[in-house]
Structure formats: structure tokens, C-alpha cells
């Protein structure tokens, strides 16, 4: 059998190469010199509106009234233009609303993006997408290695299990060569980046043709969509629980909001599987986030679709995501709750 290494020099070369790659995240952190903004630059828009997110985080400085941060479920459910228009009308001034959408699920990615935002701009209310009941991944977000660098977010991994820390370090290692390249040149911007908030999906349910539906939301009590403790009968905490990885980053988000004096709204997005439900299902440990400055929000399916004929129910969904019909309906029903919250936090 051939030896693994031809000589001591060969073995040392292979060893140094591996050591260099594995230690590169730490080396880059120690060397410094590249702004975090570079991490967000040049990522394809298929992976999330990162160029838009980068500009919102690093190029603007003005305070934000409402910041939405979450996955595509949130992006497809919130029409920023409606929120801005309705809140501005209710509050009698121009309200600033920003949406930071990332593709694919992962409260870790949502947390890091929200943290970078809050560390650069003051935010009154952070609306954070709750992990959907269908999402159970205990691994890092698939784009985490691009956006997050070793050492940039002190304390973010405190309390996380060893296996998850190791997986996160693996992400740092995977992303480190790209970060190292930033020492030589800046990342080019994605020339195809064209994200604009509030563009609802014109797709029917699971490939069916899109059927526009008039949106006429029923008059509902906005306060019933909010829970600041466990007493709201419309919220049930009996759904299969979050895994430790998801729970860790949700807890970190609560910490983050409190540290910055930002009011946190954890928002449950509607799912087609909740058809007819009179309550909003939450994972068991979700109730632990409740406390000063934190509320859970969600609209029971039976209430949201009260004025929709049963045979038209699926015309408001694309799949697990809402389409343009669902986005308009959900946003118009949720915005009064947001206004109620804003008034409460003044």
C-alpha cells in the first residue's frame, strides 16, 4: 500500500494547509480591516434581498418605526406599502417601515440580520417572523456562512450546545475564503439586484392559475391578535416544540430587542394547514418569550378568512406562502394590531 505521505515535508504541507483553512476565520478576525458590510455585498438575490438589506443597514442612519425581519413567509405576507400608508394615516405623520426578507428558514439568520440592523439604526418595533410549525431544522441557515463572520457578534453563541457551535464554526470556515478575498478587493454588487418590498406573488395554490380576489377584511378586534401573557384564549401553546437551536436564537432575539429598547412582536404567519382553526397554534416554549417589551401576534385562520367563501380559501396561498391575495388580506388585518401596539409603546 502506498504511504499516505511521501515525506515529512509532504505531511507538513498538507497539515499546514488544513490548519490554515480551519483557522482562517480566527486569523481573519484577528487581522480585521474588512467591514461587515462586505459580507452582505454581492450575494445573489435568489438567496434573499441582501443588497437591499445591506443598503438599509449600512447606508441609512435614520430611525425606523417598524422593522420586519424574517424568511420568505414574512416577505410574502407583509405589504410594506399598506402598513406604511395605514400607520401614517392613523398616527398623523410619515411612518418609516422597513422589511428585511431572507430566503429559506432560519431564526439564526434572521437574528444576525436584525442584530446588525439594530446596532446601526434605532428601531421602535421589531416584527420578527416566528419559526413556522413545518420547520424543524436544527442546522444553521444555508446562507449563514456568507453573512456571519467569526467574532462579529459577541455572545450570540452563549448557551448554544456544542454540536450547534461546531456547525456554526463549520459555517465560518466555509465562508472564510470569501471573507479573505475582501482583504484584496471589495465584493461587486449583484447587478441583477432589484428587490422592492410589497410585491405579492401572482401564483395560484400549488401551480394553479392565480385568481385575483377582492380583499374585504372583516371588522375584527385587533387586540385579540396580540398576547402579552398566556391569557389570550385565541393562542394555544400546544404545537410540537421548537428544537434547541431555534429556541436559542429566538431567545437571543428577545435579549437583543430588550438591550436596544425595541418592542418585539413575534409574528405567526398563516398556513394553509390551519384552515378553519379558531386559535393560533404556537410551539410550547414560545410562551417563555412573553414578558416586558415582547408580545406574540397572530390571526386565527377562522377569523382571517371569515369573509372568504370556503371554496376560495386556497386562492390566498401559493403554497406554505401567502400569494398577493393573502398578502393584502393579512396585512390589512394585522396593521390595526400594529397601530394598537405602537400607540401602547408611545
Amino acid at each position: 500500500m502506498n504511504p499516505a505521505f511521501f515525506s515529512n515535508r509532504h505531511a507538513v504541507s498538507v497539515g499546514l494547509l488544513l490548519l490554515g483553512l480551519l483557522g482562517l476565520p480566527v486569523v481573519l478576525h484577528c487581522v480585521g480591516g474588512v467591514s461587515l458590510e462586505q459580507s452582505y455585498r454581492g450575494i445573489s438575490e435568489r438567496a434573499g434581498a441582501y443588497d437591499y438589506i445591506r443598503r438599509e443597514i449600512f447606508e441609512h442612519r435614520e430611525p425606523v418605526d417598524v422593522l420586519f425581519c424574517g424568511s420568505s413567509l414574512l416577505r410574502n405576507g407583509i405589504d410594506v406599502a399598506i402598513v406604511k400608508r395605514e400607520m401614517s394615516r392613523a398616527l398623523g405623520r410619515d411612518v418609516s417601515v422597513v422589511l428585511l426578507p431572507q430566503s429559506w428558514q432560519g431564526p439564526d439568520s434572521n437574528y444576525y440580520v436584525a442584530r446588525d440592523f439594530l446596532e446601526n439604526r434605532p428601531v421602535k418595533i421589531l416584527v420578527f417572523g416566528a419559526p413556522a410549525l413545518i420547520h424543524h431544522s436544527s442546522q444553521p441557515h444555508v446562507q449563514l456562512f456568507r453573512v456571519v463572520r467569526y467574532g462579529d457578534h459577541p455572545g450570540a453563541l452563549d448557551g448554544l450546545g456544542f454540536r450547534s457551535r461546531l456547525a456554526t464554526y463549520a459555517e465560518f470556515v466555509l465562508g472564510a475564503p470569501r471573507q479573505a478575498l475582501n482583504l484584496l478587493r471589495t465584493n461587486p454588487e449583484d447587478p441583477g439586484a432589484s428587490f422592492k418590498p410589497a410585491t405579492g406573488s401572482l401564483l395560484g395554490y400549488m401551480g394553479a392559475p392565480f385568481v385575483p380576489r377582492p380583499v374585504d377584511p372583516p371588522a375584527l378586534d385587533a387586540r385579540s391578535f396580540l398576547a402579552s401573557d398566556r391569557s389570550n384564549p385565541a393562542f394555544r401553546f400546544d404545537a410540537p416544540d421548537l428544537n434547541d437551536y431555534q429556541f436559542h436564537y429566538m431567545e437571543k432575539t428577545v435579549e437583543l430587542a430588550r438591550r436596544h429598547g425595541t418592542f418585539l412582536v413575534v409574528l405567526h404567519m398563516p398556513s394553509p394547514s390551519e384552515r378553519g382553526l379558531g386559535t393560533v397554534p404556537w410551539q410550547r416554549r414560545s410562551a417563555q418569550w412573553l414578558g416586558p417589551g415582547v408580545v406574540l401576534a397572530g390571526i386565527p385562520s377562522a377569523s382571517m378568512f371569515r369573509s372568504v367563501p370556503p371554496d376560495q380559501y386556497l386562492d390566498y396561498f401559493q403554497d406554505e406562502h401567502l400569494n398577493a391575495n393573502g398578502m393584502a388580506l393579512f396585512t390589512r388585518e394585522f396593521t390595526p394590531a400594529l397601530i394598537e401596539l405602537y400607540e401602547r409603546t408611545r
Binding site: F5, A11, G15, L22, I43, H141, V142, F145, A167, A170
Partner: protein, 44 residues
């Protein structure tokens, strides 16, 4: 190739093999999609 009578230092070999194993462990800790989805949507 090794010169006759000068085998590769076994401690050195063990260290490099350990690094190889550590690299493999980290690769398997990565979400599969981090590699595959990225190649599909992002390219290098």
C-alpha cells in the same frame, strides 16, 4: 517518495490525520444545502 530508511515521522502523520478527520467532521456538520443550494443558485 521516502528515502530508504527515512520513514515519515509517525507523530507527524497522526497529527495530519487528526486534522483531516477534523475537516471531515466540520464538512459533515454543514447543512447539505449550504453547499448544494449555493451551487445551484449562486455559483462560486
Amino acid at each position: 517518495m521516502n528515502e530508504p530508511g527515512k520513514p515519515v515521522n509517525p507523530i507527524l502523520t497522526a497529527c495530519v490525520v487528526t486534522l483531516c478527520v477534523a475537516t471531515l467532521v466540520l464538512i459533515f456538520m454543514l447543512p447539505f444545502d449550504s453547499l448544494v443550494v449555493d451551487l445551484i443558485y449562486q455559483g462560486f
